[in-house]
Structures are given as structure tokens and as C-alpha cells.
Assembly symmetry: none
Homo-oligomer: 414 residues x 2
């Protein structure tokens, strides 16, 4: 289906906050086979909210509106929608009850309850517990989804409430597209492009989406028959899997951390980390995964040299002789983690994230990864480009990928 | 003046590329005293490009259009504009000459020269050397600026060619704004709203933007005289600072981590962290700041209980008796960090990030922060709402804020 996204808020039109939510929603919906025709970002201007919404409803199949649903005086979406579409407002009993149950009497008095709970009549509130703002409004038989502007809430409701409803609604319409995302780590876009060259000029679409050290490849194919994957899709899918090999770590919504965690859990192994230049980002990526305690034991952020000595027992001479950014120290960090933390496998990162600290030999972006597993310690040198944060992110992705590749090669019987 | 921004490209509406250029342009223009009414992001769809442009010209004083000026078949802006506004196309001699002088004969043949050089009749090309795409088109006495979608080119032409022309055009009726952002941590939006209640109905605008455990407040005020901050702004600014007190950590582009790091550096103190539920996120936030090695020593991610014992020397009995999520363990983690890492001040976090692991006593979102400084150890209990990642992020923000508040109260002379 074809949709439009409308984001509301003066903080967006003034450029104070970069609007990332619309792009995120567009990407998510695109991967599900929908097309976003346009995204609008509008200030807290009821009249323009109204005219934009009306124009969008006229030409598109569904609309996503984000922002302006809060309790403060600059939140104007509900009033604007009621007025623009000629609807009645009504206090939503579920939203009202939730606010009353959560707040003390004094706080209730301070909150413009009527404002928060006064929604267009007949809407379906999306959060079953009515804790988060957001609702579905049907208008001229088209679904209009209203979501909070706060990115995590928006994303949560989008994934869990909007998408299932949209897919159910769409099931009655033509579903023209089947699509799969192939997620890789450690390959440049241009290399993947070369491997997939034979697929060009066929009746399929291939898209490339670099995300730090990862590249995601999308395969899009038009279905000839509803619910049936056509033979083009099946043949192309097999070709892509073969071409990407072990560089392919997962599909669609898989993440590198979750896939790696699953491998660790399968082998009953506990992972530890030692981080210098990434400063905690490897551990933070791993522990973002629910249930990571089953396969992640912990680690150290040994940012200062003294921390490397005190927490991992690395000798000051080793650092002085080789430099903190060296393959020797990366190995010592990994080995020290196995010893001090008592984990089964450990990965370590030391490097120069920048913007300062680079030399001719070791420019900004130089990173050494170390890995210790079953008495064997290895290391690998990388050179990453980009800002400080980009170097840190690419390093964290590559470190997790190093664990994944080690486990792919691991045969417990040997 | 009031303007609108239109960004063009399928790579934007598919979410493959996040549109950062519109926000950047909006911010730049906003700070010069202009107001952006709306930003539109549109796919490579000539009809919608046309209708959006026409609607925008009707209601706004100037328009900025980015993208779709290139040589490939999906670059459709010129054709769409010519058609939508009923203009004639004409080969621009300067652009044509530049392309011919830069390219060899073979390359010229391969490039659709007519496409690149065929602009709406009568436009002024912005780049004096005609190397970059981009022009100014006057339509119904309003300036329409067309710029390349590539961010650095867009920004260069915006600053050097668009802004001077726009300011000259605007010279008669300028009404610049002054704006300040107040960044707080540890207060609910509704509490800030209450404190700032007396400011409502004045000739100023106040906006609220929650970001995890932080809330950012914007104050916008129209200048009465160019270059002079008016008395409303000065008075309101003083009121807001007073009302927010120590909950206010910074202004405009400040971050909690950078502000806290600056305080640490001022006092010559090295910080250490111990993280359980945040899993590295506190350290990752701190080490995102360039130069953090001057005030951040390192830390541990003691995710498993055994990690707490091995890396921080916390006794198994202490954990068994109090539970890993307890004020006792939070304090022991902070104190253990000072001892094991040898830092001056340490903050620790232990909690239940979810989605599982909650109990009646300690539901998901329960977090204990511990802080050790100068022989004194304290702790604080929080209850955060949201997804696993949101609980982790709010915990990390609050932990860093706990360090900041400790240093605010710190008098080295005592």
C-alpha cells in the first residue's frame, strides 16, 4: 500500500531536533512492502496540520502521524485533527482511567486531563494499557495512525500495534511484493555489488543499505500470485545466500548481537569482553538483547592504561613496549579477560577512535581486535573511516562478528 | 520570513538514507530569524513534486528544494518544476560550457547533457563556476532555491549563495528570533511545565522535548530590534534558570556526559563505573566524548553475579543475602570500583531492565545507583518505565547525572 508520514513539532521545523522517526518508520514500512509517497514535517500549526492531513488522506492508502499528543500547551495534534476532519472530541475512558490510577490527586489537578484524554470520537487507543499516547482513527475507510513523537515509544507502537493492524488491513488488498533482507558484516558495498552482478537486469530489485560495518541487501520481487513465492524469488534467494556465504549473518530483523548470542547459547559458552577504544559499546550492544545473561558474563572498559593493568593484569612494560594500540595488547586483553573474568571466550578491542591521537603508522581509525578461545589467542587489524562514534560503532560490530565467525568454525567434537 | 523545504528522492522516502539536510537547513535559517513552516520529503514522483511546490509557493515567502538535480534517470526535479509551474525549459549556456570543458568527448556522449543543462528558463545558477547543480528561480515574486541533495554541496551553497541572497531580499521586513535550549535531567516534563507556568500567555514560546530521563526546554522570542536581545528574552531566561536550578545541566548543544566530564576535569578527578543492568551504556556514553581519557579511567560490566565477585571483590554472601538488585550491592559495586580500578569517584548501576526478571517488590525498571566519593558511599533507588533499552538509557543518564550533582555540591576546600 501507499502511505504518507506526517511528523509534528516546532522542535523539528526549527531544526533543533533532527527528525529521525519518520525515516525509521519509512524504512520499517518499506521493508514490509509498502511505499511511502511523502513525509511531511510540520510545526505546531493546527491549520497546516489539518490541510496536510486532508491532502494526504485524499491521495494515499494510510497515514502515520507522529508527535503533538502530549499534555503541554504546544501539543496540538488532537485539536487540529478534530477540527480539520470535522469530528467530535470525546474523553476516552481508558486513557482517563489510566491517568487517574497513575497520578496522585495533586498531580491530577496539575495535569490538563481533559487535554490528554480528549481524543477524536471513536478512535481505538493503540497501547492496550493506555499508558502511551497513540490511536487509530478510521476516516473515509482509511486508517490514520497517530503515534507519540518520542522515538522509542513511536518505534514500540509502530512495531507492536501499527504493523500488525496494517498487515491485517492490507491482507484484503493486493500484496504485490515479496521481500527479504540479507544482513552482512565485514564486506564493502562494492564487493557485494560485484558478487551480485549476475542478478542485474533481471525482474527483481536489489538495494544496498550500509549501516556502519554492516551492509544490508534487500531483494524485492513482485508476486505473481498471492501467498506464493515465485520462482524468480526462490532462485535469486539461493544465489544470494551462496554468493554471500559466511559474510551473511542473518535475515530481515536479525541483529549481529542476537545471532551471535544464539550461537553462544547453542554451544553453552559464556562470553566476556575487554574494551578500550569502544568504551563499553560492545557490551552495550550485547546486553541490549533480552536474555543476554544466558551467554554474556561481563567485561571491562579498560580505557586508561592503568585500568588495563589493574583489571586485566597486563604488564606496564607490555604496553610501553608495544603501545596500547597493538596486536600484542589486544591479545593480552582477550587472554586476561578469560583469566580474570573466568569466561569461555573473550573478545577485546583497542584502537584510535579519534579525533586526536593518530600517527603516521597508526592513523585515526586503526583498531586491533583480540580473541581468546580454548587456549588459542588471535588478533586482527582494521582501519575504519568516519567520525569518532562511527569508528567506535564499526569496531563494536566487527568485534561481535569476530566472535560469530569463530563459533561458525567451531566443532566441539574436536 | 516564512519558508518551506522540499527534499526529493526515493532513497529518502524508503528510509534508506535519513534526511539530515532539511533539518540542517531549517536550523541554519531558523537561527537567522526565519521560520520554517513545513519540510516535505517526496519520492521521485514528478506529479507530487509539482503539487507540493505549488501549494508551498502559495502560502510561504520562500522555498528551498533539495535533490533530484543530477544526471540519472531518477532525477526528475527540473522536469517536474517546468511542468508544474508552466515554464519553458532552456539549455543554460554556463552549465553546458562547464560540462563540456570538464568532460572528454566519450564521457560527454555518455552523459545526458541536455538533461543536466536543461533548466527552467531565466534561472540564476548559484555556483558562480556552474560546477555544482543549483539555481534560483523567481516565481510570483517569491524566491525558489534549488540545491543538490548531497549534504556537503547543499550546505556549501546554502551558506555561501542562498543565505546572502535571502538576507538581501529580507532586508526590509526582518524579524529575527532569539532562542535558547535548556537541558535538564531528573525532572518529569509535567513538573517543568508546572514550574514554568507563570510564563504562559506571554509573548514568548516555550517547547518541551523529553529524551529518556532528560527533558529539553526551548525558549523562543522574537527580537524587536536586529542584533539586540529584547528584555522579554533576558527576563524569561533568568526566570527559567532560577526555576530549573540544579536540574538544569546545560544549554543548546551541551550533553550530560560532556558537562559532567568538564566538571571532573575541573576538579582533576578520574571517574570509574560499574555496570550491571546498563551493560556498558554508561561507559559508552562517556567515551563518546572526544578527550574523555582526561577524566574517565574505565570500569567493569559485571553482568553475571560471578563477574561482580571476580572483578569487584563483592562477596557471594552479600549478593545472596540482599539480591543483586539492591542498594547494598549498588554501594558495594561503587566502592569496589574505587578500590579495584583506583579511581577518584565511581558510579554503579544494578537493576532489572526487563522484559523478564521483575517481581512484586522489584518490578521491571527498578534500578539502584551507587556512588562512591572521598570515602563516602551513597545509593538511590529509581523506577523507570519503558522498554528494556529505554530503562537502560534512562539508568545511564541518571547515573551520569548523579556524578554531576555530586560534583556540584563538592567543595575541594572542605
Amino acid at each position: 500500500m501507499i502511505g504518507e508520514i506526517i511528523a509534528i513539532g516546532d522542535e523539528l521545523t526549527s531544526g533543533r531536533i533532527v527528525n529521525t522517526t519518520s525515516g525509521l518508520a519509512a524504512r520499517h514500512l518499506f521493508l514490509l512492502g509498502h511505499q511511502i509517497r511523502a513525509m511531511h514535517t510540520i510545526g505546531d500549526d493546527p491549520k497546516l496540520i489539518g490541510t496536510t492531513l486532508k491532502a494526504a488522506v485524499e491521495r494515499s492508502d494510510f497515514i502515520l502521524v507522529t508527535g503533538g499528543l502530549g499534555a503541554t500547551s504546544d501539543d496540538l495534534t488532537n485539536e487540529a485533527v478534530i477540527k480539520a476532519l470535522g469530528l467530535n472530541g470525546a474523553v476516552h475512558p481508558g486513557v482517563k482511567a489510566n491517568i487517574e490510577s497513575r497520578l496522585g490527586r495533586g498531580e491530577q489537578a496539575a495535569i490538563p486531563l481533559a487535554k490528554l484524554a480528549n481524543l477524536p470520537e471513536g478512535v481505538e487507543v493503540l497501547d492496550p494499557d493506555c499508558r502511551m499516547a497513540g490511536y487509530l482513527l478510521w476516516y473515509h475507510n482509511k486508517p490514520l495512525y497517530f503515534l507519540p513523537g518520542v522515538p522509542p515509544q513511536m518505534e514500540f507502537l509502530l512495531r507492536n500495534e501499527v504493523v500488525p493492524r496494517l498487515q491485517a488491513f492490507d491482507a484484503g488488498h493486493a500484496q504485490p511484493v515479496c521481500q527479504r533482507i540479507y544482513r552482512t558484516c565485514g564486506l564493502y558495498e562494492i564487493e557485494i555489488n560485484k558478487r551480485l552482478k549476475p542478478l542485474e537486469d533481471q525482474n527483481i530489485e536489489i538495494g544496498y543499505y550500509p549501516v556502519g560495518a554492516e551492509v544490508h541487501v534487500s531483494l524485492t520481487c513482485h508476486r505473481l500470485q498471492k501467498g506464493v513465492e515465485n520462482s524468480d524469488f526462490i532462485r535469486t534467494d539461493a544465489f544470494i545466500r551462496e554468493a554471500l556465504g559466511d559474510d551473511l549473518y542473518g535475515f530481515n530483523e536479525d541483529t549481529l548481537a542476537a545471532v551471535t548470542g544464539k550461537l553462544l547459547a547453542q554451544h553453552g559458552l559464556m562470553l566476556g569482553v575487554a574494551e578500550s577504544c569502544t568504551g563499553g559499546l560492545i557490551a552495550a550492544s550485547l546486553t541490549e538483547i533480552p536474555g543476554s545473561s544466558r551467554w554474556f558474563k561481563g567485561g571491562t572498559v579498560v580505557y586508561a592504561n592503568e585500568a588495563k593493568e589493574r583489571l586485566l593484569g597486563i604488564k606496564a612494560e607490555t604496553i610501553a613496549k608495544n603501545g596500547a594500540v597493538s596486536s600484542t595488547v589486544a591479545r593480552a586483553m582477550a587472554a586476561g579477560t578469560v583469566n580474570h573474568l573466568g569466561c569461555d571466550i573473550a573478545v577485546a578491542a583497542t584502537g584510535i577512535a579519534g579525533p586526536d591521537g593518530g600517527t603516521a603508522d597508526k592513523p585515526v581509525g586503526t583498531v586491533y581486535l583480540g580473541l581468546a578461545f580454548r587456549g588459542h589467542v588471535s588478533s586482527r587489524r582494521h582501519l575504519f573511516h568516519g567520525s569518532r562514534r562511527q569508528v567506535q560503532e564499526k569496531t563494536a560490530q566487527s568485534a561481535i562478528d569476530m566472535v560469530r565467525r569463530t563459533l561458525l568454525d567451531f566443532n566441539p567434537a574436536q
